[in-house]
């Protein structure tokens, strides 16, 4: 029983958890959300640009998008975060006058997210039937307006589940920013749990951090399933028969 008690104390020491929870909620949670949401938004904008380049008729644009995507999808996230966070810090200091690595963390996460989101957008846009672009152009819309008003909105709708999955990924990957050495007030969930663990020698703060991640990600996963279903089957709405079908239907055909 000693061993079990010891295990319980290592993982579920309520006192240690209670001590770290205020910081997790007050500091870690907002920072994790800022990192994930900011890089999610910037990554989506950059990703949309990459997607448009990826389906462009201009071979140069297609190649540029391809190379970008291959590089940032092919590298481990932690490597990109370190290289960008450390490598660009002199330039960032020059421009902003700040040594804070936080914005560079967002930049690195954005660059990684854009590569994935760009591919998600591209597949969504390419899945829209060719007739949609054709119908829009036949009305007199330019290629750009047709994409903006007709094709891209439909493409994005179809890949919403994949986008939410990507956001879940970002929430988790935002923890890697701890490598850049953040100020106490800039620490995200993982770093706070990790620091508390290092100080106490007890794993419970990390377990608490893990639970907080799950509270964020599990509902999102189920939200994905919900919208996935909704997109597949549509909002339930009753389909009425064509009122003209009856009078000119079977009887009239004979």
């Amino acid at each position: 029983m000693d061993l079990l008690d010891q295990l319980a104390d290592t993982f579920f020491n309520w006192e240690e958890m209670a001590k770290v929870i205020p910081a997790l909620l007050a500091v870690g949670l907002p920072n994790t959300l800022i990192l994930a949401v900011a890089s999610g938004i910037f990554g989506s904008l950059l990703g949309l640009g990459l997607a448009m380049m990826g389906i462009s008729r201009n071979a140069g644009a297609r190649w540029a998008a391809r190379i970008y995507t291959d590089i940032f999808r092919g590298l481990p996230a932690i490597l990109v975060i370190l290289v960008i966070g450390i490598g660009l810090s002199p330039i960032a200091r020059e421009i902003t006058g700040s040594r804070n690595p936080y914005p560079l963390g967002i930049l690195a996460l954005t660059l990684i997210a854009a590569a994935y989101i760009g591919e998600i957008f591209r597949s969504g846009i390419q899945s829209v039937e060719k007739g949609q672009l054709e119908a829009s152009r036949a009305l007199g819309f330019s290629y750009g307006s047709s994409m903006r008003l007709v094709v891209v909105p439909q493409g994005i709708r179809r890949v919403l589940p994949a986008l939410v999955n990507q956001f879940i990924s970002l929430l988790k990957d935002s923890s890697l920013v701890f490598m850049l050495g953040l100020a106490a007030s800039d620490r995200e969930i993982f770093r706070i749990g990790n620091d508390a663990m290092a100080n106490t020698g007890n794993l419970s703060p990390l377990v608490a951090a893990g639970v907080l991640y799950l509270i964020l990600t599990v509902p999102l996963t189920h939200f994905v399933n919900f919208i996935d279903n909704r997109l597949r089957t549509g909002k339930p709405e009753k389909k009425e028969p064509d009122e003209l079908a009856a009078p000119i239907g079977k009887g009239a055909q004979a």
Partner: protein
């Protein structure tokens, strides 16, 4: 329906190739203002491609396109297409927009009408095709026949000078075909200039003013419907008619 701003459309010696595939081999098609020209022929003869070339969805390799006697090849193709409405086999309504928004989109963005004006105009067009009560439905909740009538309203809303129909009834269930054909007949009788690519020989014979029979990228025969349907001169047209009638 008589207030159409109809125009006269002419295609001259139109050529188009996709790689080694010579799809159009010198097509001439003249549609007098206010008349209906139907284009018939076997699948793969280039009929649908001809429509797309004549509104410059696809640029011809050679030849000329005239609207009211003036070449439009140097114009901005987007502006040309605002003057030519097009209805597709697969309807191609925008599924993410309501029926009314499908019709009003181009009015707002291209004609620069206000939201209210565009909606009023859209409702008027929907009324003409008998679907005003579906204005706030999504296309997916309409039958094929209703969707095609909305597509016609969407094209008409731009007050086109010419209307193209690309096998507009081919994807419809048999009992829904008549409603769409009746609407097309109304338009033709109302003085709209129309080019109708169709497999509906009844429509071609009874409604259109001229019939053009295409095969393998050339016009084989062309003339008034009575002549083509009752005394076809070529074996190719005779064979085609005996296959479809």
């Amino acid at each position: 329906m008589t207030e159409f701003a109809s125009g006269t459309l002419t295609g001259k010696n139109l050529h188009l190739s996709f790689g080694h595939n010579h799809v159009l081999r010198g097509i001439d098609l003249h549609v007098e203002k206010g008349t209906t020209a139907s284009v018939i022929g076997p699948s793969g003869s280039g009929k649908s491609t001809l429509l797309r070339v004549m509104n410059r969805l696809i640029e011809p390799d050679q030849g000329d396109i005239l609207l009211d006697g003036r070449s439009v090849l140097k114009d901005n193709p987007d502006e040309l297409r605002q003057r030519i409405g097009m209805v597709f086999q697969q309807f191609n309504l925008f599924p993410h927009k309501t029926v009314a928004d499908n019709v009003s989109l181009a009015l707002r963005k291209l004609r620069k009408l206000s939201k209210d004006q565009a909606r009023a105009e859209a409702l008027e067009q929907l009324d003409l095709v008998g679907l005003k009560h579906k204005a706030d439905s999504r296309p997916a909740n309409l039958s094929g026949g209703q969707q095609q009538r909305v597509a016609i309203a969407r094209a008409l809303a731009m007050k086109p000078e010419v209307m193209f129909f690309d096998e507009a009834t081919s994807a419809l269930d048999p009992e829904l075909v008549k409603g769409v054909l009746a609407l097309m007949t109304d338009l033709a009788k109302g003085g709209m200039t129309m080019v109708v690519v169709t497999h509906e020989m009844g429509f071609s014979r009874n409604v259109s003013d001229t019939v053009t029979f295409m095969d393998a990228g050339v016009v084989v025969e062309s003339g008034p419907p009575e002549q083509l349907f009752t005394e076809p001169r070529t074996d190719r047209l005779k064979g085609f008619l005996s296959d479809v009638l």
